[in-house]
Symmetry: C2
Subunit: 341 residues, 2 copies
Amino acid sequence: MSKLTIALDIMGGDHGPPVTLPAALKAIQQHSELHFILCGKETLIAPCLQSLTTEQRERISIAHCEQVVEMGESPRSALRTKKSSSMRKAIELVDEGVADACVSAGNTGALLTLAFYILKTLPGVDRPALISMMPTVDHHKVFLLDLGANVNCTAEILFQYGVMGSVLAEQISGIQRPRVALLNVGEEDIKGNAQVKHADQLFRQAAEINYIGYVEGDDIFTDNADVVVTDGFTGNVALKSSEGLAKLVINELRQHSQANIFTRLMAKIALPLLKSIYNRVNPDQYNGASLIGLRGIVVKSHGNASSDAFYYAILEAMKEARIGVPEKIKNKIETVLLEQL
Amino acid sequence: MSKLTIALDIMGGDHGPPVTLPAALKAIQQHSELHFILCGKETLIAPCLQSLTTEQRERISIAHCEQVVEMGESPRSALRTKKSSSMRKAIELVDEGVADACVSAGNTGALLTLAFYILKTLPGVDRPALISMMPTVDHHKVFLLDLGANVNCTAEILFQYGVMGSVLAEQISGIQRPRVALLNVGEEDIKGNAQVKHADQLFRQAAEINYIGYVEGDDIFTDNADVVVTDGFTGNVALKSSEGLAKLVINELRQHSQANIFTRLMAKIALPLLKSIYNRVNPDQYNGASLIGLRGIVVKSHGNASSDAFYYAILEAMKEARIGVPEKIKNKIETVLLEQL
């Protein structure tokens, strides 16, 4: 396979190098086409590379960065006062065409702001979106966006999100003419706020998009749609409230499991299953959420991610880089906009 | 206990009289202070009352109504063309002071529209809200509003919702100085849309309300707050997506339960527990959601409710009538508004 270069923000996340470096080492050992630029403190990174072979070591370069964007830091502060942060460097390498994609487990707000500021959006895209796959019944997957990049969405932005989501479902999941739906409070035409109703009209005019109309919150977890579009406020609340419910279920089962030998056996079987569902609903914990609509690839791993989760986020970045997701989105947006002329 | 009169929309819901009448009969048998006005088709209702004692029968009157608001009917059509519907009659009886409260399992949109049109909002309240209790870890309860009465909420409306929710948590759950929180996409001050940020300021100025700031979606199911306030769009999506996740969990456990004798045993213990959680997350299925902020009490039972669920909705209406919820809300809103002068 042809060479792929990924820039990693080694310092990002709740744990930093102890989590990100093992994932990087694993990836470099398993994928011979992969090259890394590790952004962070050289004194922390270099000693950890000694277990690699010379060939593997040669596929890694270190971009030393003095600064780290803190997890609680405001996006404004990250943008203004952290000009040599590892997060910023990783994004800049994508912008300069040196890296094909970047991955960070750092502060989401700062990552969104820096990526938007440095990479800019694609032509025809007003705002980037945070997208991830949600599990559904029958082991189908639904792309849900926006998960919180943009809390105020006009109808046009919602429409662009639908186009972008459609590209991901087609390219990443291989779905022909993915079914795109708008999240609403009812399936009837009269339901919803002004932006959603207007976005519905925009979708109906776009023959390029397989728009299926409104779905409700519970449809996120059914296979009624392949792409569910909503604003970043609602999407974030839907994601987090589902996580919250999953935690509640795990908690209740655990409490009940202490009653007797049968309930303890029940818990032994049910809890691992529930935890796997929880991890799938908390998708950036698993394989990362992608920031799309930008001129480069940015994958966000969860701040509290394990090495395994960070490794999956690297795989996701590799996949998007091979596909050339930004180019595919650009082409689709162009086609849809031309269609409307 | 002093006499309580409740108007029931007997025709409402997916099933109508076969579900609503048994609930009414059970309630009249168990609560000697209770009087009912049963709104609906007399020919359907009268024969079902024969099992009652004379004393019980005397506490029931029938308000014959020719029309029924259909489940899929638009609110506009219900308002304009169904002037003698059972739903409308039940609300009118509250408006006329003949009934202390009403209960319907009918079409939510129509119920909201008719109740708003007929009863009007209390002074200082711009819009009614749909509120219900959500389960949390440690068997605490959180009042969540708005669940879909009003998809576009200004900061002022969100603030009024917080005041109303606070009254319910205090009066119904007996919580002293209930903790009121705004649902947001992060806990930091900079997060959120304009309405939420402005509502945050309004709450901070109201010493009468125990405002604790922002919470995120997963906090709906923790005991971090007693009242969680959001607009009807987000609240509805949060509720429905949590329901969807609960269905997914039940579905996955059921699929896995077929593997062997141990997994079947696991399912036998875990599934009833999960279903009870599902029913609690789907709260109007259980004890009804209340429409608050109006000059009268309207309790909404789920369209697909069982007789048990409709019975619980009746109990909820009795509780609110005894407390005099609208009066309590009116007083609290007045106090808060005076404080701001």
